[in-house]
Symmetry: C2
Subunit: 343 residues, 2 copies
């Protein structure tokens, strides 16, 4: 393996000079610089990243800790973060904890061991524990940013969507279409803990909209305290439709949930969207692919990832940077699954 020493010898300079050339420092005579570069090329020298990271005690790696990885939302988020980081010269150590607290712990330790400069976390259920660990992280000089969950500690930067407003918008959409008896399938709330969590916020927005916008709205809630998956949506949807045949619209607080509802409706022989309007939440790719295509409250997932990445980068480059809490707006994407109530 060719080292900086070999380059120095060939170019007939000291290793310090080679280092200066490599790192683009000033105060190197142009002809020396050229000679060094020539030596580097001819030897095929590559800087030993391990050595330089060791010496400077920092790698250009940032950790990204997601609680899932296979879901459309998570992978879109991961992609956004990764590309942004790449463009800024950082590399990403991607870790999916899959809700396992031990894994989360193990990954955080690995990250610490590797002296990552910063970490982006989409916290899982065990938030309390995570937050405590985050405190430890910051003591060690690691920058931290949360995504998709506002931390209780105000000193941590975060990027979230306004889920209250999203829920509100969605409900308003259904009400404006004339629906008055509306089902809400709100999954995955309990396990996310806290009252400030994503799912509860959406439900809060839904209630508020119903309260604000019409006197005669009736909401039927279904709270499958489970993951917000397709199967859960189907089961909840089936129960809801059979139990409340007069419902004219169902709002799933997750696209996958809504798609599950859609399947239940199909299976029960309903003609969509004529017999039942269905609204989703997230705006993942899959929502564009259902039949009928799913109207949904879209989250700016890519933007979330980008902003989270840039926020973290700001903190890493300038430790004194004060934390910022970014809140992004969700927007209604109207497709084919929601139509005006036929009278």
């Amino acid at each position: 393996m060719v080292t900086i020493k070999d380059v120095a010898k060939l170019a007939d300079v000291s290793i310090a000079t080679v280092s200066r050339v490599i790192n683009g420092y000033a105060h190197v005579r142009p002809e020396v610089r050229d000679a060094v570069n020539k030596a580097i090329d001819s030897l095929g020298y590559r800087r030993n990243g391990l050595a330089s990271s060791f010496r400077t005690q920092q790698s250009n790696i940032v950790g990204v800790l997601l609680r899932q990885q296979r879901t459309p939302f998570s992978s879109a988020l991961a992609y956004a973060i990764e590309t942004t980081m790449f463009d800024q010269g950082y590399r990403v150590l991607l870790c999916s904890t899959n809700g396992d607290a031990d894994r989360e712990q193990a990954y955080l330790e690995t990250m610490l061991d590797m002296r990552v400069q910063g970490i982006i976390i989409r916290p899982s259920a065990t938030t309390a524990r995570t937050v405590k660990q985050v405190a430890t992280l910051r003591e060690r000089g690691v920058s931290v940013a949360f995504v998709d969950m506002k931390p209780k500690i105000a000193s941590i930067s975060s990027v979230v969507c306004d889920n209250f407003s999203g829920g509100y918008q969605g409900m308003r959409h259904l009400i404006e279409l004339g629906h008055r008896k509306i089902g809400v399938v709100a999954g995955g709330i309990a396990q996310r803990g806290g009252s400030q969590d994503v799912g509860s916020e959406r439900v809060r927005g839904i209630r508020q909209a119903a309260h604000d916008l019409a006197d005669d709205v009736e909401i039927v809630f279904s709270h499958p305290f489970d993951t917000a998956s397709f199967e859960v949506g189907r089961e909840a949807g089936q129960a809801m439709i059979t139990g409340n045949p007069d419902i004219t619209a169902i709002f799933g607080t997750t696209d996958m949930l809504a798609i599950g509802v859609m399947h239940a409706a199909h299976a029960l022989g309903l003609d969509l969207p004529r017999d039942l309007s269905i609204l989703g939440y997230d705006g993942v790719l899959e929502s564009a692919v259902t039949f009928p295509t799913l109207s949904t409250i879209a989250q700016p997932i890519h933007e979330m990832g980008q902003i989270a990445a840039m926020t973290l980068i700001d903190h890493m480059r300038e430790a004194s940077k004060s934390p910022r809490q970014v809140v992004l707006e969700n927007t209604l994407v109207q497709r084919a699954s929601t139509i005006p109530l036929e009278t």
Copy 2:
């Protein structure tokens, strides 16, 4: 930051002994071991991963280079690889090149700089270039494994599915259902290059099955030389259905392609699956979620990832291990979108 020296001082031993304890070497007296461990705990010492990686010139990081990241297939694969690696004590540097050769190059260099022990690659279009780079990698002692593409160099391990057999199975399924005029939407072939690529293999299997199993089968091909996306499938499907109204089944060589076809069929007012059977390929989550649910040739994606990971680990642990080419079987998952031809 507390170092091994501090621990040594507190435990009143040499740093060599501490190192031995940390790394679990033999020849340390139990009481000394305990004392060191106690010192470690009381100081909150954590081994500096950067330093030890530097010293040993290897990190426990493996690189995973995928050409995409947002697709269901890729994220399922990434997840499988990552969890397997984690369980084996390795950490994953995940990189999505997004088909960009420069990015691929940049990532490979980063990986080299970080002295990753091994790399798993799902090669992109620029295979020739990649293969050349891989040669360089191996000179530098980095183990390499391919996934989802059999490399031309026999010395590289790989894990692929038998796409020929998959295509064959799919076609047989449709023929056995009585279909005789069958459309095939085969996307994303050209850009993968080579004749040995995934898409072409599937088409080969399809042709062979038609040839073997019935004299009177007519196949209509559509080759959108583009990514195998939903939109492409929809456009190709629309053209195919309107151009060949007597087709009774369509085989998409990718689930997303097939789902696109399904949408085209819906849009044209066809009643699925009565008017048209549709078959997909991949078995991604989304295929279970369409309406009607999509019959598909399912790939054992998780298994592919697992085996790729374990293969790479074998190579890393024992460099002399001879390469192995694993070929996995695809299996037909029959759902609602394919039914017998009504006569």
